[in-house]
Symmetry: C2
Subunit: 209 residues, 2 copies
DNA sequence: TCCAGTCTGGCAGGAAGTTGCCGATCGGTG
DNA sequence: CACCGATCGGCAACTTCCTGCCAGACTGGA
């Protein structure tokens, strides 16, 4: 593999980097949802509990999905270090401080990935990751805060995604309009959105709708 | 393959049905975006111009993306029959009126597909497809209507997705607020959305943001 | 029981978004 | 040039959304 490779599709990425994941001592990862690096998970789930250090940064929005939270907790029990940040982060994996994978855009339905091994680049990306890591907060801190929102979130997202007005959505969910709107506001804050359109985009990105 | 199979992931779907696409005389397809059946495209793009009948139904929202439109036009030149409908449609492929593929939900990042061969099921799905087909309008009819919106749509979607207020977005795009809002309304209508949240979800689904 | 903290939901006032109306402007066309 | 149609964008009335305020309900201690 040359110093900079473009890989098209997660299948191919996985095929070409599986051995690296298998042998990794340290994996650092930033992602917006659980799906992005799903392929890589096939590895370190079963094997690799020992000395390997796994750090992951997500956005708080992932806490809105019960399944996702359960999964993250499970990963923590397996030794992974998980933090959350409200910053915009590009999806990134750094393996053993020697190789970087940056997720690119989706073209014709397949996502492309840049695989970098050039030391300066890896160093640069790593330093950015470290900065983001320091600025991120541990999972536990957010977790409680979102516990009750998580119960209602799927229903509220459904109502929002169906194009209902607040009035009817609140009635449907048997809530006061004020309470419904409070929940929507919390939801938007969790998604880091400042408009409902943006919230819709983010919710879809996270697979919440 | 039994009468009803569940296939996980587009790769596997493609692997198991590629020979069917290659030999197909008639393909009917309903999708919300171009990506869904992307794998199937690897087939009938190059080969198969002769007697094979290809019908596709999309939603008007696909017209908002210039690249998508160009692609659809190209497919039409290659003999495909393309129509648009404002109805909600589940993503479906019917091959030679003998086999049906229904797209399911995304779980852990991979989409599942149901492959049906049981004649009653295929017959039932086909009849629904035919009904939708009759209710759908040809691409050409919409195409002109969206021509000018398409130019502005990407910018407007960017502004919306960035969480800007109408006021600032309009200033940024050098439009009057009234005009900006008019465009947003047209956009939402094209997406079949009745709220901005819903529009955000749909736009994301179509990969427009 | 009483208290403190939390969640609820009505109300109100304001911000943001939606829409009809209409005159101004621009690019053809007769 | 006059006319026509289409678009633009300001205005205004209206709807929807956002949020601070606060009283009432509920909960878990002390």
């Amino acid at each position: 593999m040359s110093e900079t490779a473009i890989v098209r599709g997660e299948e191919e990425l996985f095929a070409r980097t599986a051995h690296l994941f298998a042998a990794a001592d340290e994996v650092a990862c930033a992602a917006n949802d659980l799906n992005t690096w799903a392929a890589s998970r096939r590895q370190h789930t079963s094997e690799q509990h020992g000395a390997v250090r796994v750090r992951k940064i997500y956005r708080p929005g992932v806490l809105l999905d019960p399944g996702t939270v359960a999964h993250l907790r499970d990963r923590e029990r397996h030794g992974a270090d998980i933090r959350l940040t409200t910053d915009e982060i590009n999806e990134t994996i750094i393996i053993d401080r020697r190789l970087v994978i940056l997720a690119g855009d989706v073209v014709d339905g397949v996502r492309s990935y840049s695989v970098l091994t050039r030391p300066e680049l890896v160093q640069g990306v790593s330093s950015l990751f470290e900065a983001a890591w320091r600025g991120a907060r541990p999972l536990a801190g957010y977790s409680a805060e979102f516990a009750e929102l998580r119960l209602l979130a799927p229903k509220i997202l459904d109502m929002l995604a169906s194009g209902s007005k607040d009035e009817t959505a609140a009635r449907t969910l048997d809530l006061g309009v004020r309470t419904y709107r409070r929940k929507v506001a919390e939801l938007m804050s969790a998604l880091g959105a400042t408009s409902r359109f943006q919230a819709g985009v983010r919710a879809r990105e996270l697979g919440l709708v």
